[in-house]
């Protein structure tokens, strides 16, 4: 446990001692902010036109626009999409850098277990993602300040994002453990994450047998309910399964790399 914490803390230091962390956080906040702003502007405009129309026709034909449905749900989808692009940049160095710098020799010759390493590093990736998400909470606070959306769906959405991010970090960590080249790690994690995202498309043209499998595998299918503010243990189970699979593969890849070295 103490060793896991040591690995975790060292990893957090590596993040914040390098300029990458600040660039990534800034970029993420700006892009999420831009998406949020465009979406909100569209929403406000629709609201305004709606008001105009209803005053003209005496309260008739009023569209039902809802902050939760038309701002918050798309917002969570957007954040998930942007995370797909940004998270590989966070996870790429998690293990590849240790291999490149030769510090794996330190890790393997001190009484640290592979489990300590995998959990510590995964945790660091997830906490970094939480730090990335923190500034975006402000955008939602604005909605609460000027409107009255339901708060629980927002919390559910963030829970979904954390699970979604945790899964991508696990996938990225695995890919990073396969190579000592950070660029390859980033491209590989992005490719695999994207594939996990769009694999449901394959369900459209595959047989009855495979279609439900592809649909189940798709990472975004399980995100929908969270974004809408619905908590379903089925989706929770999916993300936990994906996280443990990624960590298990990382574990195996680290163990086997020592035999092949």
């Amino acid at each position: 446990m103490k060793k896991t914490v040591a690995i975790f803390q060292a990893e957090m230091k590596h993040f914040f001692y390098s300029p990458i962390a600040y660039v990534v956080i800034a970029l993420f906040t700006v892009i999420v902010g831009y998406f949020f702003y465009s979406n909100l502007s569209w929403f406000v405009e629709q609201q305004y036109m709606d008001m105009m129309r209803s005053s003209q026709f005496g309260g008739m034909g009023r569209a039902r626009l809802n902050v939760n449905l038309h701002v918050i749900t798309p917002y969570f989808f957007n954040v998930a999409l942007i995370s797909l692009f940004i998270l590989p940049l966070v996870t790429m160095r998690l293990y590849a850098e240790e291999k490149k710098a030769g510090t794996v020799e330190l890790l393997y010759t001190t009484p640290v277990s592979v489990g300590n390493i995998v959990i510590g590093k995964w945790l660091a990736g997830v906490v970094f993602y939480l730090i990335m998400l923190a500034p975006t909470v402000v955008f939602n606070l604005l909605l609460f300040l000027y409107g009255n959306p339901d708060s629980l769906p927002v919390l559910a959405g963030y829970l979904g994002l954390v699970l979604f991010g945790g899964a991508f970090v696990a996938v990225g960590l695995w890919i990073s453990s396969l190579t000592e080249n950070q660029i390859i790690a980033a491209i590989g994690s992005f490719g695999l994450s994207l594939l996990l995202w769009v694999i449901s498309w394959a369900a459209e043209f595959s047989g009855e047998l495979l279609a439900p499998v592809f649909k189940y595998l798709s990472i975004i299918n399980h995100f929908e309910d969270f974004a809408r503010g619905i908590l379903d243990t089925q989706h929770l189970a999916y993300y936990l399964l994906l996280i443990s699979t990624g960590m298990f593969l990382t574990f195996k890849s680290i163990e086997s790399s020592r035999w092949k070295a």
Binding site: Y17, G102, T109
Partner: protein
């Protein structure tokens, strides 16, 4: 303390080491000596549990490296060929990180770090970022890391690489001071280093152990005959004749005459005949200027052993 039995390791198809066996007793300093690529690093990596052998066993304190790696690693300090450093951390942060990996209790970490910083003479750079340090300092941070937790066994892969002469002397003194309480295995291809620091030498060439003994024994054993160098004045051929007749002398060779009329003779004999030769020379009216027994240096032995091996292979 360290028992290495018939270690063999392949990298894919390439044989790195074959049947490497040696033992190191408690408190001993043993040097692994060999040319680059001989298999020193591979052997050390197996002993430290960094990589498994293809076959054979390595035991530390009776714990098998493969079966009880955690127990082995708890008793080990390892300085790899390239010190495993994080360039973005400060020296103190790095050492604190390693201390936690090595299971030093939180309350003792500060003291443990103070100790190794003093041992490796890192006081000046304690709060500096590792990436900004010179090669010599980095090597010492690596050494400090290995010394943390005061492990009974130290495995040091080329500990003096990249240091300046003064630092090399300091590190050698430090390693010598560690003997007794610590068992040390160090690798090097610098011969004087072995002669100065190690009690025993294991010479590895092409993945095999070609010799194992104390530096002194190695030099005397391999030399076989004693070579004596004489500097005299007088008739060279007569002197040669005289010495040749002495029992135990195998060969006398006249070296090229020197400017001031002195002659140099090289005598090879079975045992130490220095006093007999001196008497003969003086009694026969020669002037004796110099008489020295030439020792084979470890360097000669090393070259002899490692080149012989190559000849055999061809």
């Amino acid at each position: 303390m360290i028992e290495v039995q018939k270690l063999t390791r392949y990298y894919g198809e390439t044989l790195a080491i074959e049947d490497v066996s040696f033992q190191v007793g408690k408190g001993e300093i043993v040097g692994l000596l060999g040319p680059n690529g001989a298999g020193k690093t591979t052997t050390m990596r197996i002993i430290t549990g960094y990589m498994p052998p293809t076959s054979g066993t390595a035991k530390i304190n009776g714990y098998d490296v493969l079966e009880e790696p955690q127990e082995v690693k708890r008793r080990l300090g390892y300085l790899p060929e390239n010190p495993p450093l994080y360039p973005d951390l400060r020296v103190s942060e790095y050492l604190a990180f390693v201390a936690r990996l090595k299971e030093i209790p939180s309350g003792e970490i500060e003291r443990a770090i103070d100790q190794v910083i003093e041992k490796a003479a890192l006081q000046e750079v304690r709060h500096k970022v590792i990436g900004a340090l010179s090669k010599g300092y980095r090597q010492r941070v690596g050494l400090a890391q290995a010394l943390l937790n005061d492990p009974p066994v130290l495995i040091l892969d080329e500990p003096t690489v990249g240091l300046d002469p003064r630092q090399i002397i300091e590190i050698r003194e430090l390693i010598k001071a560690l003997a007794g309480e610590h068992t040390v295995v160090l690798s090097t291809h610098i011969l004087p280093e072995v002669e100065m620091t190690c009690q025993r030498v294991v010479i590895i060439n092409d993945g095999r152990v070609v010799a194992e003994d104390t530096p002194e024994n190695l030099t005397t054993r391999a030399s076989g005959n004693l070579r004596i160098m004489l500097e005299i004045q007088g008739d060279g051929s007569r002197a040669t004749q005289l010495i040749k007749q002495m029992p135990g002398v195998q060969m006398v060779q006249e070296q090229s005459p020197e400017v001031n009329g002195h002659l140099k003779l090289l005598v090879e004999c079975e045992r130490d005949l220095r006093s007999e030769i001196a008497r003969t020379i003086v009694e026969n009216g020669f002037s004796l200027f110099e008489l020295t027994a030439e020792k084979y240096s470890l360097e000669d032995i090393f070259l002899k052993l490692t080149t012989q091996e190559e000849v055999l292979e061809e």
